[in-house]
């Protein structure tokens, strides 16, 4: 059987009462010309032709070797295996999970079991969220977090029951957990079928369709600026601001252009991952890949000395936007503006257990180093990495390399040539307890 004949499978997750069944019924109604088989959980209540609705009992098979990536849903293998023997072929298979189901074994079933892999293609995981009641679960339910983190498509349902402001708050929160998912706001799960079917969530060809939004990584700083600094002692002046201290990083840059900033921002991420060096008001800062922590006095203006030995392009990255402190750089006593500057999406530090780490960096990867790092990472942190996807630039290969994965399962292959597009690496990890700085640092080390 050829790959394109595989029957697409959509997995519907979401808490009880979120509107999963409403969505399922809507799909069955709107796609009535198609033959859709439904695998329901034991609490399902889909009212269609019995032959097309089968009940599953969520039987998770853990393998003797204890490897989490081998955890599969035995009930699905059994039911789908039988279904695929039938002469009447299905156009689509929908799997409705229970509200408390872990999406990982469901997804893995389609990659681990050879029979499933051959006949079926997991198209996407659609998670329905009750926009009003999700707040009761999102903080302490690992199931709710996992369902959000695993999703390709998230419906914020029941929008009629919440204020627009609360909805914005919810969407922001969910974006932090899973920036790769497409989020739609719905009432009564009303949505276009093309938004939930054929989404290609596990299709490598479409792995980066949501690019570049989801790949906009978060940074430990909010602002970066490039300056051309002469040798000498300059000054950084700050007023009172929202915080009594601020992270600050200064180093010699490749250029003062915008490109230079982009080239240097990863160095800044690394610098920010080092232990902060406290600098009291009046103290001196020298260029280098370290993080200074500027200590502001209780009130009033303060000044820090910037000591430059070698003239040339320099980059400054600040934890907060300088405007928040009315901060200025004085060169020979005269305030100067950055020759190019960039604002960064701040790193949200509300200790989200489930979160994402995006890495975007120019340059080519040393394939050996990258392989070694990734296999080590998946071996050690695989259980905590729910999903990952991205595009890589591999040294010596004219083609883009695309990949995606679930826990320790990795699927990747060369894609189209880079052509005129500038070579770069963009990848995202979604998971639990991810160490942003560490992942960035380790990835940088894989560059050729």
């Amino acid at each position: 059987m050829t790959a394109n004949k595989r029957v697409p499978v959509t997995v519907l997750t979401g808490f009880l009462g979120s509107g999963k069944t409403t969505l399922l019924n809507r799909i069955l109604t709107e796609e009535h010309g198609k033959r859709i088989a439904v695998i329901e959980n034991e609490f399902g209540e889909v009212g269609v032709d019995n032959e097309l609705v089968l009940t599953a009992d969520e039987e998770i098979f853990e393998m003797n070797n204890g490897c989490i990536c081998c955890t599969v849903r035995g009930d699905l293998i059994r039911i789908l295996g039988n279904l695929m023997k039938r002469k009447d072929r299905f156009d689509y298979i929908m799997i409705e999970t229970t509200g408390l189901a872990d999406p990982a074994p469901v997804a893995q079933t389609f990659f681990v079991d050879d029979e499933m892999k051959e006949k079926l293609a997991l198209d996407g995981i659609v998670t329905v969220v009750d926009a009003k009641h999700i707040w009761e679960h999102i903080d302490d339910s690992s199931e709710a977090k996992e369902q959000v983190a695993f999703a390709d498509v998230i419906l914020l349902n029941k929008v009629d029951l919440v204020s627009p402001a609360d909805l914005d708050k919810l969407e922001t929160r969910i974006r932090q957990m899973n920036p790769a998912a497409r989020i739609h706001r719905t009432q009564d799960a009303k949505i276009g079928m093309d938004k939930v079917l054929n989404v290609g969530g596990f299709n490598l060809d479409r792995a980066l369709e949501v690019d570049p939004m989801f790949l906009e990584p978060e940074y430990p700083f909010e602002w970066g600026g490039a300056f051309d600094l002469p040798a000498g002692t300059h000054e950084f002046i700050m007023q009172e601001g929202p915080d009594p201290e601020m992270g600050f990083c200064l180093f010699s840059a490749t250029s003062t252009g915008f490109d230079g900033l982009e080239e240097n921002q990863m160095d800044a991420v690394l610098a920010y991952s080092s232990d902060p060096v406290p600098v009291e008001a009046g103290g001196a800062i020298k260029p280098g890949f370290s993080r200074s922590e500027l200590r502001l006095p209780a009130s009033g203006e303060c000044r820090f000395k910037i000591v430059v030995d070698k003239p040339g392009p320099h980059a400054i990255f600040t934890q907060h936007h300088p405007d928040e402190f009315q901060a200025k750089l004085l060169v020979a006593g005269v305030p100067v503006d950055a020759l190019s500057a960039k604002e960064y999406k701040p790193d949200h530090e509300h200790d989200e257990e489930v979160t994402s780490v995006g890495i975007t960096t120019p340059g080519d990867l040393d394939i050996k180093k990258f392989n070694r790092w990734l296999s080590e990472l998946l071996m050690n942190q695989g259980p905590d990495i729910f999903r990952m996807k991205g595009v890589l630039s591999i040294k010596g290969d004219e083609n883009r390399f695309v990949f995606q994965g679930v826990h320790m399962l990795f699927d990747g292959r060369p894609d189209r040539p880079w052509g005129t597009e500038s070579r770069h690496n963009s990848l995202i990890f979604i998971g639990r307890n991810l160490d942003r700085a560490e992942l960035n640092k380790a990835f940088q080390k894989c560059l050729a």
Binding site: N50, M63, N64, G74, I77, N82, K85, D114
Partner: protein, 351 residues
């Protein structure tokens, strides 16, 4: 100039001799010979069950089977009753003489995946549906309901010629005697068993597993060992008549373990390599030494596993092989496919 090597000779085993063939137009999910070899029952995945004359292939009877699909089939000891289980949650007993269903009973879950008649009694059978295990008389009266199994029951079989039986699934194997509700024995194993097979003498139990392994128990001592390294999950298991050789699938190569002496631990199994894709069916003769194998490519091979270089005979069916079964006299065997082809072949000692 490099010399051109002669192409390797196209080794192709002689063709199997055909006794008769038919087509049912649907995936064949089960075939079962009656105990005397006179009848062949054929179940389609969509439900209907045909009974044919084993010698000629003449259609004798068609039973409705199960509305949403038939899952299992078994003849009773005398061959007068055929039991079936299906996706309508029911098990049924069919009388060939009367040409109709004579009893029907609920399995206790949406799918009745296994039915198995008592090997020594005429009128009692087991059904397994989901976690439910029930023991009934042929008229449907419930003799005993067993406590729910820990998981879905993946396989169920009587120990050959005995009053003991076992069920297997995720978590291990539980054994019972036919006169008690209490477990007679249990082998715990944290893994997912897909199929199991008693050796004919009852000394060994082998399981085929989801994690691409075969597990093996000495029934009396409970000592066990595991054979790993299969390419894919293992469902295909068949013991030879002498309870010495166990043929296993889970790979394009059929692996035959020798369980004599200290084996199979540390022994090198025979490897029968002809199919090219993972085999889907295996069957040793009841008394003889021949082994039949089939694969999704539609190829059927008959082997003497002591001469593993090449099969003795082969044939190709339309559609992947789903079932292989030897008739009681070992002279005929039936092969069936996913496209609905059913062929009965004649095999002698030389195949």
């Amino acid at each position: 100039m490099p010399r051109l090597a002669a192409p390797p000779p196209l080794v192709s085993a002689p063709q199997l001799r055909l006794a008769w063939e038919t087509g049912i137009g649907d995936h064949v999910i089960r075939i079962v010979w009656s105990p005397d070899g006179g009848l062949l029952a054929i179940a389609a995945v969509s439900g209907a069950v045909q009974v044919r004359n084993g010698a000629t292939g003449d259609l004798l009877c068609v039973f409705d089977g199960h509305g949403f699909g038939t899952q299992s089939l078994a003849w009773n000891k005398s061959g007068k009753l055929l039991a079936s289980g299906g996706q309508d949650g029911m098990a049924r007993s069919w009388s060939l003489a009367e040409g109709r269903c004579v009893a029907e009973f609920e399995g206790g879950a949406p799918w009745v995946e296994h039915v198995a008649w008592h090997p020594l009694r005429e009128d009692a059978l087991l059904t397994a549906a989901g976690r439910k295990l029930r023991y009934r008389s042929a008229n449907g009266a419930l003799i005993r309901e067993y406590p729910d199994f820990d998981s879905t029951i993946y396989d169920l079989a009587w120990q050959p010629g005995s009053t003991h039986f076992a069920v297997a699934g995720y978590g291990g194997i539980v054994m019972y005697k036919d006169d008690a509700k209490e477990q007679a024995r249990r082998f715990d194993w944290k893994g997912s068993i897909l199929s199991f097979a008693y050796s004919p003498n009852g000394n060994f139990i082998a399981t085929g597993n989801q994690d691409a392994s075969v597990h093996f128990w000495y029934r009396k001592s409970g000592k066990d060992l595991q054979m790993t390294g299969y390419m894919t999950k293992v469902r295909e298991l068949s013991w030879d008549a002498g309870s010495r050789f166990l043929a296993t699938g889970g790979s394009p190569v059929v692996t035959v373990w020798d369980c004599s002496g200290k084996g199979p631990a540390g022994s090198t199994p025979a490897q029968l390599d002809e199919h090219g894709v993972p085999v889907s069916a295996l069957a040793f003769q009841h008394a003889g030494a021949l082994l039949a194998s089939g694969c999704p490519g539609g190829l059927v091979c008959v082997w003497n596993h002591r001469k593993p270089d090449r099969p003795l005979r082969q044939a190709r069916l339309d559609g992947g092989i789903t079932q292989l079964a030897w008739a009681a006299d070992d002279k005929k065997f039936a092969a069936a496919s996913a496209s609905g082809a059913v062929r009965v072949f004649i095999a002698s000692e030389q195949a």
